[in-house]
């Protein structure tokens, strides 16, 4: 046993996977899952990669599993929507060597566009799902997941959430075990899922679920923790368990479920028999609660606890306090809450000083273009003062939404507002390119702006197929965006520097006016990249500044307006010079 270390949940998962002998990992980044694969990539004796999307990654992991080694794939909850297709049929084929998939939910939507509960996928695809509640369990469950995968011949989902992924707690690690690859075994009836074979596989899946329920009854992943208090029993899993223990202490009777699909039956009945009343405490949807009720057992759950947002110890305490049936388990909630006597302005996230997206968004906003947006840092272009984006749905949806919107215009009076869509380089590779092919194939006349900042930005700088570097930062294949767009059959492809507003203006006015499909590649690396050298900060010539606030239109966090004129924060300014192009009086001076 090594000494105890403080580890991030995601790092503990990576260490657990590694110690369990994982050999191949393929993922697409997505908060809060990203660090699992980043940490795995530090082990240079295994193969890791960034794939262009989650479906690709999952299938790569499947291939490696067939090839005989333990394999892995990580994604955020919405990534599993993209990878759902292989998931459902992989449930039928089973695996070669163990295959584990991390899916990280984001209750509270710290960094996501919805709050979906990925446990529904485990139920729908009939695949086991484990849910750790802290870093120690992240480590242990990652190892257990591989064992379950091989024992029951199934991919295994490891469900994380933001508070588990991004919290550090103590972990003891054991070191990497011996790796013995299996031989590839040709088995057409198992791996060729045409109807005749799939028909024979489905009953195998149902039998496997029965075996897994049997396993769930006695698995150490589920623990029946009977305390002194038997008036009330709590059933919970994951981070909710930690809030429950925080509030009720060791005396409470708790059934903690680490295997959240399939759920046990006898174990729940035994627990229900041992306590006077039951409450299921789970974030998001009533998955455990519905199961308990299906067993014919009375329980409380979403009649008391919210469906929306993440929980906390105060929320659990407050709700248990107000419940009539919590008996002697009353707790106290804090008092003495203080606030200052003034409104507190919000501090929303913003595009960084020097962000290359800013120049293009300013141009779109200035020209009153209706813009369909996508998922990435540039979603922040929807915020004031730029307010340059009308929609954001999911990865790749900018290109397709614009195409559909354009066709709707033929049926109404419409308006003559120019339209365009914006999509980042990584998101374009993820699923934008298929939409672009659709537009080209069906003769659409969209203006597609690829905001190429040469990195996957929002998730913290991961390489992608357009950057020419692999997950380790080593040279790799590089997709040429211009050549790709031309190969699709688009002749109007042009590259602009978003730091040059005149170039952006010309491209946007000409391409939105064009009666055919065009692509503008707005290219400039992310200002936060280590390889990008900042220029000296701009200075304000106070004598020339007339306080017209033209420089404030771009929403740069480095510029503020005082009674004495514009002020530039030289700790933030990277000298991009976009603001200087807006100043008619030459008050913002670029340093040589």
């Amino acid at each position: 046993m090594s000494k105890k270390q403080l580890m991030l949940g995601n790092d503990a998962v990576a260490q657990g996977l590694y110690d369990a002998g994982v050999c191949v990992a393929s993922s697409y980044p997505g908060t809060p899952s990203t660090e699992v694969t980043e940490t795995l990539a530090e082990f240079r004796d295994i193969y890791t990669e960034w794939a262009p999307n989650e479906k690709v990654a999952f299938e790569v992991a499947f291939g490696a599993s067939l090839g005989g080694v333990r394999s892995f794939c990580a994604m955020k909850h919405v990534g599993l929507n993209v990878a759902a297709d292989p998931l459902f049929t992989m449930s039928y084929t089973g695996v070669g060597a163990g295959l584990v998939v991390v899916v990280a939910d984001d209750p509270g939507m710290h960094s996501s566009q919805n709050e979906q509960d990925s446990r529904h996928y485990a139920i729908a695809s009939k695949v086991p799902m484990l849910e750790p509640s802290d870093s120690r369990e992240c480590y242990e469950y990652a190892k257990a997941a591989f064992e379950i995968s091989e024992r029951f011949d199934t991919p295994v989902l490891l469900r994380l959430c933001t508070r588990v992924s991004h919290s550090q707690s103590l972990v003891e690690t054991t070191g990497r075990g011996a790796v013995t690859p299996k031989m590839y075994a040709r088995d057409l009836a198992k791996y060729v899922m045409m109807p005749g074979n799939a028909k024979r596989r489905h009953p195998i899946v149902e039998n496997r679920t029965r075996a897994l329920i049997e396993y769930a009854e006695t698995s150490p992943l589920n623990s029946l923790e009977l305390g002194e208090c038997r008036e009330l029993g709590i059933i919970c899993s994951g981070t909710a368990y930690q809030y429950v223990r925080e509030v009720l202490g060791e005396g409470a009777s708790v059934l903690k479920l680490g295997l959240v699909n399939p759920l046990p039956e006898k174990l729940i009945r035994d627990f229900a028999d041992a306590v006077d009343s039951l409450i299921v405490i789970e974030e998001l949807d009533p998955v455990i609660e519905n199961h308990v009720k299906t067993l014919g057992i009375e329980c409380h759950g979403k009649d008391m606890f919210p469906l929306c947002d993440e929980f906390s110890q105060n929320l659990v305490a407050r709700i248990l306090d107000s419940a009539p049936h919590t008996g002697s388990m009353r707790t106290s909630t804090p008092t003495d809450i203080v606030a200052i006597d003034a409104p507190i302005p919000a501090r929303p996230p913003v595009m960084c000083a020097g962000c290359p997206h800013r120049g293009m968004f300013y141009t779109l906003s200035k020209n009153k273009v209706r813009v369909f947006g996508d998922i990435g840092c540039y979603t922040l272009g929807a915020a004031a003062p730029l307010a340059a984006i009308d929609t954001t749905l999911c990865m790749g949806a900018s290109v397709t939404t614009l195409h559909g919107y354009t066709h709707a215009q033929a049926f109404g009076d419409g308006d003559d507002v120019k339209t365009a869509c914006v999509i980042g380089d990584s998101t374009f590779m993820h699923s934008g390119v298929t939409g672009l092919i659709n537009t080209a194939y069906n003769g659409g006349a969209s203006t597609v702006i690829i905001l190429d900042n040469s990195i996957t930005g929002m998730t913290g700088h991961q390489q992608n197929p357009t950057t020419g570097l692999d997950i380790h930062g080593d040279p790799a294949g590089k997709i040429d965006l211009e050549a790709l767009c031309r190969a699709i059959g688009i002749t109007r492809v042009r590259v602009v520097d978003p730091y040059n507003l005149a170039e952006c203006e010309a491209a946007v006015t000409e391409e939105t006016a064009a009666d055919e499909l065009s692509v503008i590649i707005s290219r400039r690396p992310c200002a936060l990249l280590k390889t990008v050298k900042a220029k000296p900060p701009l200075t304000v010539n106070a004598e020339k500044c007339v306080k017209c606030k033209a420089c404030m239109k771009i929403g740069c966090p480095a510029i503020s307006m005082t009674d004495d004129g514009a002020v530039i924060d030289d700790t933030l300014c990277v000298g991009c010079g976009v603001c200087a192009q807006l100043c008619k009086f030459g008050a913002l001076e670029v340093q040589a």
């Binding site: 105890k4 270390q5 403080l6 991030l8 908060t31 809060p32 990203t34 660090e35 710290h110 960094s111 802290d134 508070r163 991004h166 919290s167 550090q168 707690s169 103590l170 981070t239 930690q242 809030y243 223990r245 925080e246 906390s312 110890q313 105060n314 909630t333 804090p334 008092t335 003495d336 809450i337 203080v338 606030a339 200052i340 006597d341 003034a342 409104p343 507190i344 302005p345 919000a346 501090r347 929303p348 996230p349 913003v350 595009m351 960084c352 840092c377 922040l380 915020a383 004031a384 003062p385 929002m458 998730t459 913290g460 404030m552 929403g555 966090p557 510029i559 503020s560 307006m561 700790t571």
Partner: protein
Amino acid sequence: MTTKNIMIVGVGGQGSLLASRVLGNLLLGEGFDVKVSEVHGMSQRGGSVVTYVRYGDKVYSPIVDEGQADFIISFEPLEAARWLSYLAPNGKIITNTQQVDPMPVITGAAQYPDDIVGKMRAAGADVDAFDALSVATQAGSGKAVNIALLGRASRYFEFSDGAWTNALESTVPPRFIEMNKKAFELGKNA
């Protein structure tokens, strides 16, 4: 002992993650059960960020809730005020006085409150305010605000200088360690 709660609040990009990791390693070294909850992703882009550090004999929840923070270590006065309701009845705020305007203030849609430190004290909070940016700059880099703040906060903890030094050395990259040690010392004595 009962679990102690620390919050580190600030603006995305100011270095709160490193500060929380120094604290985590310090508390681990002192033999406590420790949990640290961080913020990654979208909120890091210049938004309001909060990191929770909890320690004691046995820590369950990874987060600190309203009315529970024994210490709020703040990189920016407005952020201290934003999280004021999280302060425990006898809690203490250690805040940098450097003002960073949020976008609604920059665009003129909102006003930055004046004399935030005074207002927090008027609301009953125990506040230790100092210019951590000057201290950090004096130590060699404005980026060391996080460690200067920890130095100042160290006055209110019962941990030895050696324990803090060990935590710094095991967390901060070697090439920045001397500068950060200096920032810690200057912060402590500021």
